[in-house]
């Protein structure tokens, strides 16, 4: 309740206090200010803690007084009113004190606030200053890094190394005493040196330019002079042509050939060069020439890589088109085949001249897409020859060069890669096209420097000069031998067909002067017919009769006796002898299987052929073999023992001189002729 009362009173007091205060202020401000200031100053002087103690004391006093008043009031005695009054005064006093204390507290609070505000403002100013300083630091740091990052242009310049610099630069530039310790100075000195050097080089460059200009001018002058020379030279050349021709020195022509030779494909070029070289070194009569259109070859060679691209492109295209257009497949294949078998527009011809002026023309082609070379042949003879019927195959392009080297038939392509190409376009073998394209003999590839090893496939076969050179001489010799032997055979055939065995005078001693048996027939024999003959079985089984060989049949007659001979003519004649198989029709059919003497007659011509070769190189072998056949037939018939049971004279009286008629367990007849004495003996 006391609190209530105090509360009621307090506002009163404040009001009373306040009102007069306000009044007082409004009336007399200076007094009030003094008062006010005095109380403020009082605050300075008083200790707040003591005030706090005072406040507590006062509050306790007030409480005690209130409690005593309450006691007294509750007792309700009359005398107590005085006591109460006294006490009320006391409490008012206390209230005054409280009021004072309250004011002081207010002032103190205000003062504290002011102080705080002041301090805060100070702190704010300091903070601002700090911010400014930080910003300045950052800026400066940035500037520093910028400076640090600065790149001088001189660093890009490639300087000579330090050692070189000190070695080369003159001391007035290098200044070693200063620069050695100071890298900066050193760099500067080096840069100076660089500048110096560059200046010098620039000067040199200018000098060179001038020089060049001068030389160019000189060249110009000389060129003019030379071009003025050309027409004069031409006119001299023109004038010298008849002289060249007259002296057989075709320099001009050779020059032209070399010009065209540049457009030859590599294998043909190798062949051309090697054949030329061989001709110059060993065979002056060898004529090598290039034929065909140079323009076409040029056109072919201008874009060599493009063409290849084209090929692959067209391949792809073709594949597509074949899918699209089935009906024209055949036509397309045909075109493809033609394309594949296309030969290079240029060809090399070699004319081999033999001693008797007959010429073997060889025309070498190059099949571009197959990378093989082929050859076509033609023979021209010195004298006009009547062609014997049986000689049909002798000089035919198909068989003339057959098996020049053993087994080289020239029917199949020597390039193993071709088979796959053929498969693509449906060519079974090359042999169907050989008559058209020429024969791809292995020796032709070798002359062109192409080598296709059988065992190890090589990715790309390139023309090799040394290979060609190593085969040239041998092959040329073989070709000549082949031609001469064929011509010799040709001649022999011509007489053989007329039943004349043309024994040359050098070979007369091989035979007795009187030979009664006569050659009646000489004719070619198809291979199939040869195989069917009963008495040729042994030769066929021995592998000595191949389809590339030439086959003939001969008939030798004497009286009723007819000796049929089947002849295998090896293309390698005359180093490979012809092989005879005999069948005698006289008193029954006698062949080597039922008569030892027929067998002996065969071996007389087949095995003992060496003595029949005649003058080297033995082209007369065939003639001599046939002549010997006639002789041994004479011997056979004349020495045949006379059947005593048959009446009448012998059909063939013995005219030959023989030491013994039969000899040895096989009762051999004396087939060997001994020349000067002219008698027959056993071998």
């Amino acid at each position: 309740m006391s609190s209530d009362s105090s509360k009621k009173r307090k506002p009163k007091v404040i009001r009373t206090d306040g009102a007069p205060q306000e009044n007082k202020r409004s009336r007399a401000d200076p007094d009030q200010d003094v008062k006010y200031y005095s109380e403020e100053a009082e605050v300075e002087l008083r200790d707040p803690n003591k005030d706090y103690e005072l406040y507590k004391q006062t509050c306790q006093e007030l409480q005690r007084l209130m409690a005593e008043i309450q006691d007294l009031k509750s007792k309700g005695s009359k005398d107590s009113a005085v006591a109460i009054e006294e006490r009320r005064i006391q409490s008012c006093m206390h209230f005054m004190t409280l009021k004072k204390l309250n004011r002081l507290a207010h002032i103190r609070l205000k003062k504290g606030r002011d102080q705080t505000h002041e301090a805060k403002q100070k702190v704010d100013a300091y903070h601002l200053q700090l911010q400014n300083l930080l910003y300045e630091v950052m800026h400066l740091q940035k500037e520093i890094t910028k400076c640090l990052e600065f790149k001088s242009k001189h660093e890009e310049i490639d300087l000579v190394s330090v050692d070189e610099f000190y070695k080369e630069a003159p001391p007035e530039i290098s200044k070693p005493d200063i620069t050695l310790n100071e890298p900066h100075q050193q760099t500067l000195a080096r840069l100076d040196w660089e500048l110096e050097q560059r200046k010098r080089l620039a000067e040199k460059y200018k000098e060179c330019l001038a020089n060049k200009e001068k030389i160019l001018k000189e060249i110009e002058v000389k060129k003019e002079y030379l071009s003025s020379l050309q027409p004069r030279l031409n006119s001299i050349m023109q004038a010298s042509l008849p002289v060249q021709e007259y002296l057989f020195m075709p320099f001009d022509q050779a020059h032209k050939q070399y010009e065209t030779a540049r457009h030859l494909p590599p294998p043909l070029y190798v062949l051309f060069v090697q054949a030329n070289a061989y001709g110059q070194a060993c065979d002056k009569k060898l004529a090598v020439a290039i034929e065909g259109s140079v323009e076409e070859a040029k056109a072919l060679y201008k874009p060599p890589e493009d063409s290849q691209d084209d090929e692959s492109d067209s391949d792809a295209e073709e594949e597509q088109t074949t899918k699209r257009r089935r009906p024209t497949l055949g036509v397309q294949l045909d075109d493809k085949r033609k394309e594949m078998l296309k030969r290079h527009p240029l060809s090399v011809t070699i004319d081999l001249k033999c001693k008797d002026d007959s010429v073997l023309h060889l025309i070498f082609y190059y099949l571009m897409n197959l990378n093989v070379m082929t050859v076509k042949t033609k023979v021209t003879t010195a004298t006009e020859m009547t062609t014997p019927i049986s000689a049909g195959d002798l000089l035919s392009p198909g068989s003339l060069l057959n098996c020049l080297y053993p087994g080289d038939h020239g029917k199949r392509t020597p390039n193993p890669a071709n088979q796959f190409q053929f498969d693509k376009v449906g060519i079974l073998t090359l042999s169907d096209y050989v008559t058209d394209l020429g024969h791809p003999y292995v020796w032709v590839q070798k002359l062109g420097g192409l080598h296709f090893p059988k065992d190890q496939p090589q990715p790309t076969v390139t023309a090799d000069n040394s290979l060609s050179a190593s085969h040239m001489e041998m092959t040329m010799k073989l070709l000549k031998t082949r031609l001469q032997s064929r011509l010799a055979l040709h001649k022999q055939f011509a007489s053989l067909e007329h039943g004349i065995v043309p024994v040359s005078s050098e070979c007369q001693h091989l035979f007795p002067s009187k030979v009664v048996s006569r050659l009646v027939k000489w004719a070619a024999l198809p291979y199939e017919d040869y195989l069917e003959l009963s008495y040729t079985k042994d030769v066929v089984e021995a592998g000595l009769a191949e389809d590339t060989h030439l086959y003939y049949t001969a008939l030798v007659e004497r009286g009723t006796a007819k000796l049929q001979a089947a002849v295998v003519l090896n293309p390698g004649y005359s180093s490979m002898p012809p092989i005879f198989n005999l069948c005698l029709n006289w008193k029954g059919e006698k062949t080597n299987s039922n008569d030892d003497n027929i067998r002996a007659m065969e071996s007389e011509v087949n095995v003992c052929y060496k003595e029949l070769c005649g003058p080297k190189p033995g082209y007369q072998l065939l003639t001599n073999q046939l002549q010997r056949l006639c002789v041994v037939l004479d011997v056979y018939l004349e020495t045949e023992s006379h059947d005593t049971s048959v009446e009448g004279p012998k059909e063939f009286p013995q005219e030959k001189m023989c030491l013994r008629l039969v000899r040895g367990p096989n009762r051999m007849k004396p087939f060997k002729y001994n020349h000067p004495q002219g008698f027959f003996s056993h071998r």
Binding site: P406, D538, V539, E541, A542, G543, L544, N570, G572, S575, M576, P577, I579, N592, S593, N594, D596, R599, E602, S603, N606, V607, S641, D643, T644, S645, V646, L659, R660, V662, R663, G664, P665, N666, R667, S681, H682, R683
Partner: protein
Amino acid sequence: MAPGEMDAQRALELLHMTVFSQSVSPCGKYLAAGNNYGEIAIFSLSAALSSEAKEESKKPVVSFRAHDGPVYAMVSTDRQLLSSGNGEVRAWNWSDIVKKGCKEAWSRRPPYRSSLEVPEINSLQLNPKDNSLLLAGGDCAVHAMDLESGAFTHEFRGHSDYVHCLALRDQSQECLSGSEDGTVRMWDLRTGAQVQLIEVHKYEECSRPQHGKWIRCLATDCDWMVCGGGPALSLWHLRSVTPTTVFPLPHCQQHVMFYQDLILSAGHSPAINHLQISGEIRAQIPCTPRSVHSLCVNERSPEHKLHLPAIVRARPFSARLTDSYEMLVVPQVGNYRLGSRHPGASLR
């Protein structure tokens, strides 16, 4: 000469090769064959006839040039191989041959009378009783040579043409010779006298004038003789000198021999005939050669009893192992080849 030419020449030589003679080594393991080029080739029978014989083992173990002319006859002694060709007989040690070192041990030439032509020696016959060798051929005479001293002890003359074949009668020291002149003569080896003369072609049953009168082959066994050639193959009783059996073989026979109770013969036909004394043809065994010059029985090797016919012809020689095996000896590129065939195999 280029290798191709060499091959071609060799191929031709092989094509025309004739094997005239053969002889089995004393051990029975090797066979020597002589051809018309004077070469002797040695085949290993044990290798060629073994069950695992390869093509290679049918080729000659070794071959060497023995004579200038053909090797017409060969015979083996205990140590040596004797071969004869034109004019000379030569000896080769089997021990050397087996080691492939073929050096001539000795050579002898009988005393010939004519000098115009060197006579060939067609037949050799060993006479083990007195260690002598009988040889006969082109000079129409039979010579006896002492193998110990090498001296020619006897000369039996009488034939008017060259001698084809010889045969020995062991019991009576007598020797038979068959000649181109159509006669078979019997000689006493001790005295050198001619004991008997048989002119085979004069007997009508044997005579074949279309083939000639020559006697090519001859064999004896006690009192029996079989001979053939131009005249038909016939069996003779020597004591009575009569042809008891004439064998019905159309071709000329070139070799004949007694074997057990059979007579084996071969000649101008590609077959070996097994004949019985009675005249029946018991068997005709075909062989690859078209003409057979020589037959030979290998008695020294019990496991390989065979007759080896030597031949003429491109594919030379086949032999029959008593009724069960045929052995082929074929000259191949550069050489001969031996082979065996089983009985069921087709034979040409």
